[in-house]
Symmetry: C3
């Protein structure tokens, strides 16, 4: 029953694909975070591996390039003892005019277990998930402006690690929300996990128009946005937005929405500062904050490996 | 004695390189297919690996790029537990003016066991095979217009799987035979394995002039070509042939030689349809045929992994 | 005490990074060569692996591309059973404006054990080594014109293998010394290991001005340079130097400094000829010498794997 209409769950209501944080229950999200907790210590061991996915085949299908994110999935799969195949999609048959579904059908015929998919088109991982056999699992590593669920889950893991409980928290998401699949996935996860208040903060040109139904508070000033916040998630300002129609200049953006040590004092004294990376120092965030005591940006990276190990092992039923 | 002049066999008459289906005996071909049969089930296991090539070093040397084919060899070697090294040849020393043989001598000095070679020049894998030490093995993954023996072997495996015996079979190879190394390798293998009749089917501009000595029947109409055929192998029409001197247009080609459900009825009712991929839907073959009941295109891909595992384990003496 | 000011040693005086042969004691160099000796046989085994670095994560960070050198490190790490991650740095976040140190800090947060770094800027591996946590190790795979210590160590291994002892040896390094990080690292290693005489040989335009303090003899004629030498190390002449301000033409260079069989007779009868590769046949060295009895160029490649295994296992404390 749970599964009806939810493409992420199998007929027993179990997570079989991870496509979005939207539509996942608090129980499912919490189970992923709990499982990730068990994997955090694996990367500290002398031998950083567990045999859970030994002999499984994981395919990295990055139709949109991202060396960083691809590497985190590569590491996560390898530490689960899976075999990882990375396809240079830009050079492959898709470039020869083969359709996305034909490419995937071919790889599935090679006995794939998990596809990790990044695509510039929103919805591409859904399309793939609808067409693969039941024993094949799809993990969305970012699709268009739509979703980036593993980043949101590692953000949730980081928040829970430092703040223990979501119920009393005020979380501010600051910057270019309009173009951010991370922001969208964070909002769904935070709402489901019961954060007290989620604020999105940025200039009108970088906030989407449809935020109200998502249950968030919209703030057009940084001071209002991070006032007494427990958690501040800074978003990367894409280079291509820095000048032109949406923003007068990166200097003016930094003036108004860049996070400095002085402005950080508006938040709670024990507020944590997060960023999905890669960071533009001096554009959306000052170096002193990145390297400061409240920054948990590098722990996010560490937890990201554990969260991706958790997602892979859960969807594969390991 | 068997080995005299046959560069694929060692002095005991055993297969030490796979360069072409031409010149291999029915016994050798059958042994590869039988061995592949043992490997088909490996990809269905919980742990998709066998330790036959553990600690062996397989080098993918794709002087001509092919993500798809390279991946199948990568998977085959990994499921045999070999270590696979893929060289980005386009960026490597060959580009700095080093000769092919110096490149290979260097890699051999790193203790290579198997080279998987694709090259745009016909004969390049032969040249390499002539110069490597006896414990090093070369597998041709496609050279120029000359040969693509593992594709031909997976085609043979697929035919045998569905038709059991070659002796009574009529096999039609349709399309751009002139530029197809697959066609050439298929013809040699089918002839050796005893197919009753092999037909090549296509416009005069896309059939080579020297087919008669190969013992095939040449057909310039699709109807004549696939009439009562048991097996139809459709070839990919390369984009660069679709207009210009050899073909008036891809529409006209599809009109005359494209396989549709209607035309497929000219063949035997239980005929199987094959294609080496990637498919140009609507150019050489209609979507309804690709996805139809007689298509065995995806099983070809699955069997391709097993066949490549068989070839690697046989040449390495494992 | 040993460690004071030496960024390659930890506080117990043990090798924790390999950045340069300069500043390493005879004991440290000899320990690396002795350890490599134990690894040479691994590549001859049926199963070419030892479990010393099982579960460790090695990251190849090649900011300057080198397929050949990257592959040797990949092989060395894999034969030690480590997991190897190769980042396509040219496409990665550094290209998005992220700093070198932010890139490395991120990867370190994924629980890296060893970074293998090649960079066009002299000193880049030092900068990284200064900023990583104590359990992370950096190996310099070539930085600018500064150092290429693993190449120098494999050169030393090769010399010791064929000549047993350094004390009586005359070693000539011939060619473009000015642009060669290999020459610089070789000179430091040879001096420390006690070679009797080190000569650098080349036209004035391709020899650096500051050689005297390094304790080498400068020769501007090939005859003087290799007269009675025990070891001749030929350097690659980069294509971009072959014409222009530094050299009149590659023909004239070959005339004056190219090593032919005739000129080789100036050296001792049992002199060995080395080259770091890739070779320009007919530019700095004649084909007859490359393929001749005194050439040890391919054994250098073989020993290079063992030397890199030794360096990795030593810095990782395995």
């Amino acid at each position: 029953m749970l599964a009806r209409g939810n493409p992420q769950l199998n007929k027993n209501g179990e997570l079989t694909h991870l496509l979005s944080t939207e539509g996942l229950s608090k129980d499912v999200l919490t189970h992923i975070l709990d499982t990730a907790g068990n994997f955090v210590s694996v990367s500290d061991r002398e031998v950083k591996k567990v045999p859970l996915l030994r002999g499984k085949s994981v395919f990295n299908l990055f139709f949109e390039n991202s060396t960083r994110t691809r590497t985190t999935f590569d590491i996560a799969a390898t530490r689960l003892s899976a075999d990882v195949y990375t396809l240079d999609i830009a050079r492959s048959s898709t470039a020869k005019g083969e359709s996305l579904l034909d490419t995937v059908a071919n790889l599935a015929a090679m006995a794939a277990d998990i596809f990790v998919v990044r695509h510039s088109e929103s919805g591409a991982p859904y399309l793939i998930a609808q067409h693969v056999a039941p024993h094949v699992h799809v993990i969305n590593a970012g699709d268009g402006r739509h979703a980036h669920p593993t980043q949101a889950l590692l953000d949730m893991y980081t928040i829970r690690h430092y703040k223990k409980d979501f119920s009393g928290l005020t979380v501010a998401i600051v910057g270019d929300v309009l173009h951010s699949r991370v922001a969208r996935s964070d909002i769904h996860a935070l709402t489901t996990l019961g954060a007290a208040e989620v604020r999105v903060v940025g200039p009108r040109t970088l906030l989407p128009a449809d935020l109200a139904p998502m249950g968030v508070r919209v703030c057009h000033s940084l001071k209002e946005g991070i006032q007494d916040a427990d958690v501040i998630i800074m978003l990367r300002l894409q280079n291509e937005r820095m000048s032109g129609a949406l923003l007068p200049s990166s200097q003016e953006f930094f003036q108004n929405f860049g996070l400095t040590s002085e402005k950080l004092q508006w938040a709670k004294p024990d507020a944590i500062v997060m960023h999905p990376g890669p960071i533009n120092r001096g554009v959306e965030i000052d170096s002193a904050v990145v390297d400061g005591a409240q920054s948990v940006i590098l722990p996010q990276v560490t937890f990201g490996i554990a969260v991706r190990m958790a997602v892979m092992s859960i969807v594969a039923g390991a």
